[in-house]
Symmetry: D2
Subunit: 480 residues, 4 copies
Amino acid sequence: MLRTKEQFIESLRDGRDVYFKGEKVDVTSHSFFEPVINHLGIEFEIPESPQYKDLVTFSPGGKEMYSKYFKIPRAAQDLLERSRIIDLGTRLGGTVVLLIKEIGTDCLFALNIVSRQMDSRLQTDYSRRVSNYHDYCMKNDLAMAVAQTDVKGDRSLGPSDQEHDDYYVRIIEERSDGIVVRGAKAHTSYGPCVNELIVIPTRNMSEKDSRYAVAFAVPANAKGVKMVASPFGGTTRSAFHNPISSSHHMVESLTIFDDVFVPWERVFMKGEAPFAGPLALTFVQFHRFTAISYKAPILDLLVGAAILMAQANGIADTSHVREKLAQLIAYAETVKGLTKQSALNCRRVEEVAVPDPVYSNIAKWHFASNYHQHVALVQDLTGGLTVTGPSEEDLNSPATGGYVRKYLAARKGISADDRLRVINLVRDLTASDFGGYNELLQIHAEGSIEASKITLLREYDARPCVELAEKLAKVRTNSF
Amino acid sequence: MLRTKEQFIESLRDGRDVYFKGEKVDVTSHSFFEPVINHLGIEFEIPESPQYKDLVTFSPGGKEMYSKYFKIPRAAQDLLERSRIIDLGTRLGGTVVLLIKEIGTDCLFALNIVSRQMDSRLQTDYSRRVSNYHDYCMKNDLAMAVAQTDVKGDRSLGPSDQEHDDYYVRIIEERSDGIVVRGAKAHTSYGPCVNELIVIPTRNMSEKDSRYAVAFAVPANAKGVKMVASPFGGTTRSAFHNPISSSHHMVESLTIFDDVFVPWERVFMKGEAPFAGPLALTFVQFHRFTAISYKAPILDLLVGAAILMAQANGIADTSHVREKLAQLIAYAETVKGLTKQSALNCRRVEEVAVPDPVYSNIAKWHFASNYHQHVALVQDLTGGLTVTGPSEEDLNSPATGGYVRKYLAARKGISADDRLRVINLVRDLTASDFGGYNELLQIHAEGSIEASKITLLREYDARPCVELAEKLAKVRTNSF
Amino acid sequence: MLRTKEQFIESLRDGRDVYFKGEKVDVTSHSFFEPVINHLGIEFEIPESPQYKDLVTFSPGGKEMYSKYFKIPRAAQDLLERSRIIDLGTRLGGTVVLLIKEIGTDCLFALNIVSRQMDSRLQTDYSRRVSNYHDYCMKNDLAMAVAQTDVKGDRSLGPSDQEHDDYYVRIIEERSDGIVVRGAKAHTSYGPCVNELIVIPTRNMSEKDSRYAVAFAVPANAKGVKMVASPFGGTTRSAFHNPISSSHHMVESLTIFDDVFVPWERVFMKGEAPFAGPLALTFVQFHRFTAISYKAPILDLLVGAAILMAQANGIADTSHVREKLAQLIAYAETVKGLTKQSALNCRRVEEVAVPDPVYSNIAKWHFASNYHQHVALVQDLTGGLTVTGPSEEDLNSPATGGYVRKYLAARKGISADDRLRVINLVRDLTASDFGGYNELLQIHAEGSIEASKITLLREYDARPCVELAEKLAKVRTNSF
Amino acid sequence: MLRTKEQFIESLRDGRDVYFKGEKVDVTSHSFFEPVINHLGIEFEIPESPQYKDLVTFSPGGKEMYSKYFKIPRAAQDLLERSRIIDLGTRLGGTVVLLIKEIGTDCLFALNIVSRQMDSRLQTDYSRRVSNYHDYCMKNDLAMAVAQTDVKGDRSLGPSDQEHDDYYVRIIEERSDGIVVRGAKAHTSYGPCVNELIVIPTRNMSEKDSRYAVAFAVPANAKGVKMVASPFGGTTRSAFHNPISSSHHMVESLTIFDDVFVPWERVFMKGEAPFAGPLALTFVQFHRFTAISYKAPILDLLVGAAILMAQANGIADTSHVREKLAQLIAYAETVKGLTKQSALNCRRVEEVAVPDPVYSNIAKWHFASNYHQHVALVQDLTGGLTVTGPSEEDLNSPATGGYVRKYLAARKGISADDRLRVINLVRDLTASDFGGYNELLQIHAEGSIEASKITLLREYDARPCVELAEKLAKVRTNSF
């Protein structure tokens, strides 16, 4: 049953342990979280819109309508549609990612696949639990965060070789009714504002690390779960100066599992070390596809803002400006085109359509490794006024407003007010706390640039290439 | 009716005026042209192969089989299939482009569209002529070259403003039975080795340039047509040292129209200046799609050769080598993925499916502007021996063969012979007369890099981007 | 006579019209300006340090000591020394530029040269005025801002063709005792916190724009001068979260000349249109050298922060990390090396050593066009925690401090506190309001990237290159 | 005593074992070697020119004049002068490197330093031998090649771990009068055309590889030395089509040591494994400086050819052309400027001035990793005619010459002949066997790109950077 925004907000008042600046807070009433929760609310409003309803809902049983995020993709078209839904939500959310349901369902799909693989290999009973949990979240229209990235300690060491045992989340006790876990996960997107936390491993595990091979789900208010929310990425909140970040925002938490009990029905992996890597990776296959799908709006925005600024400044026909606009367009469309190819070339695994990792990782890599350079192009076209211009109050003051309006107009027909609004958009998006947040997000979210390369090399079938080279070189050796 | 390779070769013995190194030659017996003609022969052999027959032939009337190159694309699937046919021929031709039928049919498709547009706008009779000519070429399975690029003189001046009148091909006389043309077209691919030359304008024309707005077709042996063949791009011909270029090669000509008569039935544009640009452009829309389709094999070859060399040299697991391989793969697959997107996003114009110019031009630009850098990666992995290694004769000589075999083996299991064969492949492809030819081809063929950017900017619909930016910046001005 | 920091601050209490957020403010007591003025104060403290005294002061007459910024460079060594002084001040100022005396003296040097050129060509009396003004500023140890960039209106139009007459600063009245000027200059660095404003043209002027060809100096509190200070670039001020920007900061103003009277002795150009461009350019020659000189500390800081983070995270020996460190080092040292070459290849004009514009513009271009990409490398090495980490209060809270310290430590021996301090440094420098300010500064300050290219092409003597090409090609034509 | 070109040539007729295409040849009479030897002869002609004499000769004892290449650098000025001499020779040699004396003396300088270090550490007697050998070469004005790069076998294995023992040159016997060596060195520049071969290790050696830690010199005709000359890099020899490579050329050999006896006086290292790496590295420090010094002419040539072509084609004022010219200039001058910095920042080791490796490696890396991309710019400006144009014979033939001249002229005042000459220059330099040779040379000669990065990281003193970061981050830990 689809929930309303109000029901969603109400559900967050459950006594959860969320800390902000060192103090426990109620996220539904704390001013820092207001734009976050309003932003997340969009996801609950979209299905109410007649325009979007058919796109974003489905009815698996033919009666009740659910969010289509929960629909398991079976073919390329399902993935293309999922991509459109993600794009829509992000676009309506001012290019700020909506991760409430996409990340959670990415993880449910991965659990669906890997639990079947475990069951068929190890005669376990995980797929039934996963399926029940999937239905539970879908039917209650829950918001889920995924806590995957362990805090890791020294990156050059594995889980068991660290200075202390808890740098990776681990099972510290096995009981008749479930397990007890300890550890912490870094940067959990929206952790403080969801209903459920799904926890999975972050990497391959060897047998000696088997107590770290654990996957499970807990409600956000489970005893022992503590979330330390991060204050960064958009602290200033003027609707004029921060047209995006004043009303749309993410939040991440350091999510601590201080000896949290998980009943068996919510345990999806318990020590099956050889499946830790596959689960981590399968989630990532889905999640990188989500990642490149939600980049489309920000890419379009960079193009659009650049064109607006070039026109406002009267330089749109200049040769170097046209070169920069062409670069921005090519950048945007390359990522978008490769995203579609990832869906179209999907692979079926355990009857689930998995986005093609070759194209999704190339798209992700291309996006992430070129983002800053294209931000630079937009800043170049926007001009130094981005950081040397006047404030909203200067515009409104009798002492200064007239001067500002007279002198900061540009091309005929463009008022200083409108020009400053577009400049503010560029600054908020690229040259502010929020802009810095965006830069880090592009590099690190959904897997680093290096991770994309590694996945690409592992997933790419180079045999046709090698065979062509061998044929033309007239060599044939099995050692190749 | 499909011709055999022998019939094709025989058809070139028609008295045509082809010059090589200053002398008139018979292309079917001159040693320089031997690999060119053998290479082109592949296109006539493919339809004879049971394996490929269905892919490369079609039967529009249900009886006679023709080359599928002549099939007018009506939907995305037709373009995807055309792309596969082009890929296949290029792959079998050692990554050297096959342009006999693809370039000619690209031009026929463009003439098909623009002749209809002219007829409907100007009540001319061109589309009938084009249709007849299309059938003539298809039924006789002819090889056609397209002569588009005028020699241009001073690039900063238009056709009528040049130092002499003939820098662009023009009509010098109009007669009751046809027209007489004069001028020269540069770098006509395969001109000396085809049956037909199709001539179209190279650019927009203003009314004062209307005598330059001319399109027509003539047989390669038409009176007054003289072709000066270029000797570059692969003069050395050792099967060992030049595994590709010794047996596969292109040829271009400076194609001179020394007052050539063209009967009306073969005239497809005569002075309709406003349609010169559209014809040039529509051809280019098809031809850039052909271009990016035939790049796939050379991209695969760069990847394959790099992997072979890395393995032969025992460095395949080195971190910087893996980085380079990942870059090569991403480069190759980006171009290939965007090519598919160009087909999938095609536009129907006059009932013909035209490849999407946004994706085809981004693909072309991406390919062309990054080719040299990726060649550098392959050369880097191959090593200095590429240009400091021994000759085939050194390998075979009793005096030196033993030393070469002993000292130039590398990783265990890779003989010096095999290693040198792969090195030869890389040198032939990237660091030789033929390699230089390839570099120039990538930059200039099918339109320059700058042309790709211009087309991209013109064809891109930026409105959704601008609207998103306006909405988020909270501005709304018609002047944008 | 050298002033103390206190004397400097006291001198700013002169009734000047500075507006912040729409209200007139006293910069010496307003909290926003506190870090700016403290930062500028460093320039007055350095000469008091025994360690630096000799480097930063000089005594032209042999008695009184003055700031060496005022020393007119006569040879390469003077420029190298000036570069070291600029580097020192910037380094002590936390990589935030110190522009009080360098920008002002850059402008005095340019006025020195161009006034002599005007006097010798036009028999004017400017060089005497400039010399007196130079002495006045030097002897009183004044802080000077340079107001050069007009607000410009429509960039595609010249001063006289704009929608209104005042988009460029112009002379509106000529009186017996001086001139009256009107207009506004954008982004005047430190305008609100200096003693003197020097005003020069921003571009070439044609004869019809002669009323815009004007150069002069006024005290910051001159009647009719109004400065609207910009609030951007570092609003948050936690010593923990913003280790640099909380105590070091620039400020820019929109500087309005609302019919300001300038007495003749302070007028340095009045209608000599052909000299507007040379003055603008000569200033820029000096100022781009200043620009690349003050980049050294931030370049060093990017390298240092990257190394610290790589070590803290335990990834310093990873291959891709080493690649990134090498790139950062090469980037930093290329700019620094070319800066020295600019000094060493200086040209003497009117007995003043002008930094070589070829090297300074290449250095500037290299720095500006690659800054974002190198910031991305540092952010990559630092990790997502940069924007998802906890706050200072979380670290200090009994409820959360223990968790944060336990889980956010990394490599053995690096405490979470220290790691977060380095992360904060990176965020403050690159991913914050201040980081965005830095990005814009790199692109736009001291001339845009496009301006650097244009200057490079104009100043480069390509004859030796063309002659070598002609000799080897065996051609010789005067038209080349 | 300085030799004449004739004396040099005569000295090569000494019975040496040089093989070309499998047969033993006399390099002084074989047509392949003619341009090589004529090219090398330039080095003996330059000192005879009154214009250059003072620059390129010196008289250490005050009487006899010797080549200044042999002068041991003691200060920055010596290195700057050496750089100028190398530039001069390369420029006169058509941008093709002259390596006869520079590479040999680079090695003598390295032997000078490391032999002293060995003597003082191990009480050996090497420095006396090196000094005598240095004098011997200088006084007889000998041409020396350096054979450093072992054939290496499997690059992932050390010398002792290879499939056979001879993948690295090693001592196979120690006799009372000297040693016997076996093995082979790859790509010895000019090996077949020099008087002396100096052999040094190619890498660090561990103790178990001590028999591979060997350095020595032998005459080119020493018994057992066999050189297999490579045929690549410029086989076609038309003065019109190959204006550079028809008269200037390098040659490399696979240099085989088939049990070669070396008397003690010519042995400079014999098993001192810890000094193998330092010798290899010290040589490279000098040789990379030589490398970046001899790049200046080819960089100038790229700039000059690009300008000539842009002018010939009438596109010199086009915006994208100007952008490309600016890029070429910046590329050239960055390498040249950093080369000067390498000399100016030299370090004195054992009283020898060693070029600063930080700047030389950055210069080398910048040059090598951007060469192909800048070649692409030149090819872009030159046009497709580079590989589709006519031959010299077409220009001279009565049948075709008129057409070619009429149609291939471009901008008024530029004849087709001259235009084709410049095009030929570009093709020869960048898009031919010789062009391919150049590309490989840029990547691999004097150490690979990866080697430059490794050296840079090892040699860079990052402490000031780290200290600045620590100061600003307010952390201080010894573990950093």
